[in-house]
């Protein structure tokens, strides 16, 4: 993690994710200091600039936003997808029975890497918006493509 990296707070639990920021927000690291305490200054996409403090790097609970794998972007960006039910996919329903009202369009695909982890070691995520205007972000592995749309 370095100045000029793009970051996002880790609000949603990993799995099962039941908290969804509306929408997800992102910022750029503009300064850092070793302290103690550690500080990171962030300029957010809303135009707000803030300084975060923590006693350890992991405590910031920030993820660095990096490029997803090219094949993953190619497979998901601009497609229609649906989140797979907690019970998992079934042979007759790739979404495992998730209501079709959760079908949405994928408009962003990227990697989230915890700020304390090595670059490129994170998980691929996607963000989609469903018809009522709700945003859903999650690991690519939590979704199924809806074909022919």
């Amino acid at each position: 993690m370095a100045v000029s990296d793009i970051v996002s707070p880790r609000i949603a639990p990993v799995v099962p994710s039941v908290i969804q920021p509306q929408p997800t927000h992102y910022g750029v690291i503009t300064a850092e200091a070793a302290g103690p305490p550690l500080t990171r200054s962030v300029l957010w996409d809303t135009g707000v600039a803030s300084t975060l403090t923590a006693d350890a790097l992991a405590d910031f609970n920030l993820d660095v936003i990096e490029d997803a794998d090219t094949a993953v972007i190619d497979a998901w960006l601009g497609k229609v997808a649906i989140k797979i039910a907690p019970g998992g996919a079934t042979s007759t329903d790739s979404a495992g029975g998730t209501s079709r009202e959760f079908t949405g369009t994928v408009y962003a695909v990227y990697m989230r890497t915890p700020i304390q982890s090595a670059p490129g070691s994170g998980n691929n995520y996607l963000v989609l918006q469903i018809a009522p205007g709700l945003f859903i972000e999650g690991r690519v592995t939590e979704f199924a493509l809806v074909t022919d749309q």
């Binding site: 990296d5 996002s8 936003i65 997803a68 990227y110 990697m111 205007g133």
Partner: protein, 138 residues
């Protein structure tokens, strides 16, 4: 090209590690430069469209300027959709072209034209003009 008073700018949300993937703020926000204090790096005072005021090094901003004439001619007032790997995005992402602009990350002097698209019930999203296509029958 350095920032100047009256230039448009936005928070820079790309990096060395984030150049193929994109994050798409909902909605996108653009501001206007009200003051420049020479550096390096130059320090910019910026007021956003919602009234927020920012004082920040130019390094962390994208300069926003007019798109090139050919881009404007091709996309203004049209319905468009993004593409990836030579395939159009889902029809659900076809939308009105809201904004056309050139983006120069960090104000270094190299602009790329972008198209901001808003489907009727979909998210705001921006793609490079070279990765957008006009939907001809709308």
């Amino acid at each position: 090209m350095a920032f100047a008073v009256g230039d448009r700018a936005r928070v820079r949300l790309s990096s060395a590690a984030l150049s193929d993937s994109k994050v798409q703020p909902q909605p996108p926000r653009i501001g206007v430069v009200t003051r420049v204090v020479g550096g390096p790096p130059d320090v910019i005072d910026l007021v956003f469209e919602d009234g927020k005021v920012l004082n920040i090094a130019a390094t962390f901003l994208d300069e926003v300027r007019d798109a090139q004439a050919a881009t404007i001619t091709a996309f203004q007032g049209r319905v468009a959709v993004g593409t990836r790997a030579s395939a159009q995005f889902s029809q659900a992402l076809r939308g009105n072209v809201i904004d056309l602009y050139g983006i120069d990350p960090g104000g270094a002097g190299a602009f790329t034209d972008f198209v901001l698209i808003k489907p009727k019930t979909g998210p705001w999203y921006e793609v490079a003009a070279t990765a957008a296509v006009v939907i001809g029958d709308r």
